[in-house]
């Protein structure tokens, strides 16, 4: 087990990359602490799987280095890196029993049958597949097959990292939740570093202590789920995480104050030096409310969706769409309302990146 460092990593599938657009990964500098539960979150095609395959050794990066502890493993093959990976579709060895499947990685490394038995029994118990050990793996249901795939990743005690590449894709929704909490529990028990790749924010936020958000081959933000939710470093993170995502409104900046459609929007704190143009105000729907004192941004309600626990109001103000999440009473469609933004949660973005900082820091 070791800390994993990615330094100056770049990867291109072209043999002669010319511009930045040719790179699937644009420049990754990242450290994964030993024993952490990480999620790698991003839309399809953002480079998540590429990054994962580089860590596991299935791909050799075009540039940069990968260190496991102090050891440079950039050119080592997967078998030499001591890692485990669980794939999108369950990979099981059809002709073997569940027991032999779980024992396979250990036997390939020439471990004693005693140790094999002890480890397989322990893992089977954790995964609750003990009663299936002697059945043929080919006859299992998809979720049990995926459990066995995970088990093969966890059976070796000395792995540096276990990686999950969208492992719940083929699992039924009601079992997804079960397997996800199982994974979380497994992480607490085996204490190995785990990296979970997904495009599903719920999966990422429930599994990980730290989430890395990737877009177009670049890391946009790395932080705890709370940090990602409360202070998205980029409007992309704001959009991608949350349902509905963050409201991003075009604005003008004059003398450190932001104006949305001519009205001043009070920000969380002073904005960094922002020249005109490319500035946007970001506010989460959770922090938008209907003003009762008649002050705020004028808007017309277009739609109200009752999603059970709360209502999602969609309103139009100065040609921009604003979502608000309201508890209890909500206006009806067509009504004119005034919207208030919670000042401590109102942020300024410049060219997509966070440009304001909280008051107390200033």
């Amino acid at each position: 087990m070791a800390q994993i460092t990615l330094s100056n990593l770049r990867h291109s599938y072209h043999s002669n990359p010319e511009s930045d657009a040719d790179y699937a990964l644009k420049k990754i500098d990242l450290t994964w602490e030993d024993g952490g539960a990480y999620a790698l979150l991003g839309p399809s095609g953002c480079g998540k799987s590429t990054l994962l395959n580089i860590i596991s050794g299935l791909l050799v990066p075009s540039e940069g280095k990968i260190l496991f502890g102090d050891q440079d493993v950039t050119s080592l093959p997967p078998a030499k890196r001591n890692i485990a990976q669980v794939f999108q579709f369950p990979v099981i060895y059809d002709t073997m029993t569940v027991y032999d499947n779980l024992a396979f990685p250990l036997r390939n490394r020439g471990r004693d049958e005693d140790i094999v038995k002890q480890r397989v029994t322990a893992i089977a118990e954790m995964l609750e597949v003990t009663d299936m050990l002697n059945t043929r793996a080919a006859n299992l249901s998809p979720d049990n097959k995926q459990k066995i795939s995970m088990g093969r990743g966890l059976v070796r005690q000395d792995v540096n990292v276990v990686m999950f590449d969208e492992p719940l894709t083929v699992i039924d929704p009601h079992l997804k939740w079960k397997l996800r909490s199982k994974l979380k529990e497994l992480h607490q028990r085996v204490k190995a570093t785990m990296i979970y790749v997904t495009h599903d924010q719920t999966e990422a936020l429930t599994f990980a202590d730290k989430v890395v958000v990737l877009q177009d081959g670049e890391i946009v933000q790395m932080g705890t789920p709370v940090e990602l939710f409360e202070r998205p470093a980029h409007t992309f993170v704001g959009h991608f995480i949350g349902s509905p995502g963050m409201n991003v409104l075009p604005c003008n900046v004059k003398g450190g104050a932001a104006f949305f459609g001519g009205e001043q929007v009070r920000l969380e704190g002073p904005a960094k030096d922002v020249a005109n143009g490319g500035a946007e105000v970001g506010i989460r729907p959770e922090f938008v409310s209907i003003a009762s004192n008649g002050q705020g941004v004028e808007a017309v309600v277009r739609k109200v969706a009752d999603v059970g626990r709360h209502k999602v109001v969609e309103a139009i103000a100065h040609d921009s769409r604003i979502h608000a999440i309201l508890e209890g009473e909500a206006p009806s469609a067509g009504e004119a309302v005034k919207l208030q933004f919670k000042q401590s949660q109102t942020r300024l973005y410049k060219d997509g990146w966070l440009a304001s900082s909280p008051e107390e820091a200033a």
């Binding site: 395959n53 990979v91 059809d94 002709t95 390939n108």
Partner: protein, 288 residues
């Protein structure tokens, strides 16, 4: 409420008729011959099971059947492993894939009697490319019209040349359908090349290999044209396979009764072996 009627039979009728005319009725005429004796003029005499007894007890039949099994066994034991090996070494992607596939398919596109004629000329000791090379360049005495071993080697090599491609193409289809994740997982699990073959590739090829073996068994067991053109069953009777012998009895000697009985026995052996093999191969799949 479920309505019940017999209308479905109407829709099956055309197929029944077709099968009746192209299979059942011709087969029944064979059954008819197999229990009677005829001297022409449409005169028939009832013989019961006499022809069957005669065929089953005849040494000639035993020998032809033995040769037939030997031939089929030899070509299977060569073509299946060879076909798998070639499929494994073929590229999985890139510009060479279509080239390999077309080259592989070529031998199968050649008509059977042409294959026989080709190999006949190819192996002629004085003018054939292979025959001349063996006799005059390497100094190995090779003449399949004189030497039974040479004749056997030639018909087996010819069949391997003609039909290994079928095994290759089927195995290849099985191989390329294996998702990449299996190979990646095996690599991470530290599996050796042999383990990858034994636990991933072979199990994934099982279905297509079952079909390949079944097809090659049936085709080689019923083979006629190629060995007939190549050796005519000789030298002597050394390469007289069952089908060649059958044609000799039926058309050469015009012994329709024994020939019909032999056909039915022949058919029964092919059917039984195929059924046994298929049942054994698919037995595991049905276990829940």
């Amino acid at each position: 409420m479920k309505t019940q009627n017999q209308r479905a039979w109407f829709f099956v009728l055309p197929v029944l008729l077709l099968v009746a005319f192209n299979a059942l009725i011709p087969m029944m005429t064979v059954v008819n011959y197999s229990v009677q004796e005829t001297f022409g003029d449409n005169l028939f005499f009832w013989e019961g099971l006499r022809w069957f007894q005669e065929v089953l007890q005849s040494e000639r039949f035993h020998n032809a059947l033995g040769r037939q099994f030997f031939f089929t066994f030899m070509i299977l034991i060569i073509e299946i492993p060879l076909g798998i090996a070639i499929a494994l070494s073929m590229p999985k992607k890139g510009p060479w894939v279509p080239v390999c596939l077309v080259l592989m398919a070529l031998p199968m596109l050649i008509p059977w009697n042409v294959v026989g004629a080709m190999w006949n000329i190819f192996t002629l000791p004085d003018i054939g490319l292979l025959g001349y090379f063996l006799n005059h360049t390497l100094g190995i005495s090779y003449d399949m019209t004189q030497d039974p071993v040479a004749a056997w080697v030639t018909i087996i090599v010819m069949d391997v040349w003609h039909w290994t491609s079928l095994v290759v193409l089927l195995s290849y289809a099985g191989l390329v359908s294996i998702p990449n994740a299996y190979y990646q997982a095996a690599e991470i699990d530290g599996a050796s090349n042999w383990a990858v073959f034994r636990f991933i590739q072979l199990p994934k090829m099982k279905t297509v290999l079952t079909i390949a073996i079944l097809l090659r068994f049936m085709d080689s067991f019923n083979i006629y044209t190629e060995p007939f053109v190549l050796t005519g069953g000789g030298p002597g009777n050394s390469t007289t396979l069952l089908s060649i012998d059958l044609v000799k009895i039926a058309l050469g000697q015009f012994d329709l009764g024994p020939a019909a009985a032999m056909s039915l026995i022949y058919f029964a052996i092919t059917l039984l072996t195929s059924w046994l093999f298929y049942t054994l191969m698919t037995k595991d799949d049905n276990k829940a």
